[in-house]
Amino acid sequence: MTKEMPVLLANAGKINPTSAAEYIAAGGYQGLQKARQMDRAALLQEVKASGLRGRGGAGFNAGMKWGFVPQAAPVKYVVCNLDEGEPGTYKDRIICQNNAHALLEGMAICGAAISSQQGYIYCRGEYPFVVDLLRKAIASAKESGALGSFDIEVRMGAGAYVCGEETALIESIEGHRGEPRFKPPFPGVEGLWKAPTVVNNVETFACLPYILVNGASWFAGIGAPKYPGTKIVTLTGDINNRTFFEVPTDITLREVIFDLGGGIPGGKKFKAVQVGGTSGAFIPEKDLDTPIDFDSMGTIGAALGSGAVLVLDETRDIVDVVARISKFFEHESCGKCNPCREGTFRCREIMEKINAGRGNENDIENLLLLSRVMQKAALCGLGQAAPSPIESTIKHFRPEYLQKMN
């Protein structure tokens, strides 16, 4: 029997997500209390030992990231990435709408670890109702005294996918165009208003209360050993259960799609799945027995990313879907660096040409060349990942490209 495993979503439907009192009655804010009683080194060690890695796509060990923050700095910030711009992804919204206080508590735990008094949540502009919800939840937490002297402010994004990139996000909070910065310095050393800043995803923060309460080894024992814990996946496309599930990270793609997802509607056959959102690789049937964790996905040339799962059935025109995706990246490229500004434009141009039946095999070679250049030379993850849907479909579904050329 395939396993759902609600941890972050265990409170779903049971408590009012804005109410601190209801969250506390369900055992909430005990992790923060515990964190505040620990000394800083022990707290960092606990988070490191849990093996918690970032849920926003890059999979970096959270405790290690916090450890880079120089203690001597007078001001430090905790920033939550709720930009959630990756198409097919809505898990951070689900966490907020069901268990907002777990996010707030997680941010405050990070605050205790890096001795920061100020948090920011950067929420995408498309979620004004989540902004309202979070502001109510923060007010309720403040009133209850649970957050102590830790403050959290919510800022709103304005429809730019690149602002999910942590340094672009920081630029945006500062009121600028959301263009990524050169790294180093990394935000942990020089971030928001030049102060050391930890940026983590909503889901990463929301794990922390449970780690503190149940212990690092409990968390480390869930799912895949190298990327432990649970992950919320969102299923879209040709799938019977078009919804979200919280699962242990060692579940396989096949289990996600065919057990939890209920398989493909209308008795049709599976063609491909794109994991991690629109910047993810397309995966063929033969790789479906791969676990979804960060490293396992890497071994098949894919990425867990945000945990979005887009399923295509046998009738879908994969070249058409990838052409549409290439338009997304052309639109969202911020234009700061040439390989991406020019590369996403050319990718879209060639993909549309092929999709319209005017391409030739030379175009495929050019796409592959462009992909390599962008992966190596683009400044941020947007330009680096933009070619992966193209490259992976040429690799696994080349005949579909060739079909459009006859």
Binding site: T89, Y90, E126, G159, D238, F328
Partner: protein, 148 residues
């Protein structure tokens, strides 16, 4: 309608408040009037070019007039394969305008958007940020009726 000068003044002391001010203006006007942008530049002590550069960077913000109700159709891959093109066709027919245009009475503007994070119910549209899921050509008239 609240005066944009008041709105901008209220954000003046917020660090990085320019984008907050734009949001607040747009909430009131459904777009950012050119004069408001110039006023914001003055208050936040940036050049008009910079104020413009920030506003136009973000696709959620719109400088210059558009309709009172902004209808956005998600074109991202999950909505694309769920039949967003049929929804586009139905909306264009119902309103008698093309994508990117505004109705003559100034009530509706049609725009594309990328994923709005409601992908449990593809295809998705939003009207002034309120999402509508599992939209079909047949449902369009009833949805619009709320705004007419």
């Amino acid at each position: 309608m609240a005066d944009y000068k008041e709105i901008i003044k209220a954000c003046k002391d917020v660090p990085g408040g320019l984008i907050e001010a734009y949001h607040a203006i747009q909430k009131e006007y459904s777009y950012i009037p050119e004069e408001a942008l110039l006023e914001a530049a003055k208050v936040f002590k940036v050049s008009a070019a910079q104020a413009y550069g920030v506003a136009t960077f973000y696709s959620y913000l719109k400088v210059g007039k558009r309709g009172k109700n902004v209808i956005r159709i998600c074109a991202s891959a999950p909505c694309h394969i769920a039949g967003a093109d049929k929804v586009v066709a139905a909306l264009e027919k119902e309103l008698g305008i093309k994508m990117g245009q505004t109705t003559a009475d100034g009530k509706f503007t049609l725009e594309f958007t990328e994923c709005v994070g409601q992908c449990q119910a593809t295809p998705v549209i939003t009207i002034n940020s309120t999402p509508y899921g599992d939209v079909t050509g047949e449902k369009v008239a009833a949805i619009l009726a709320e705004y007419k």
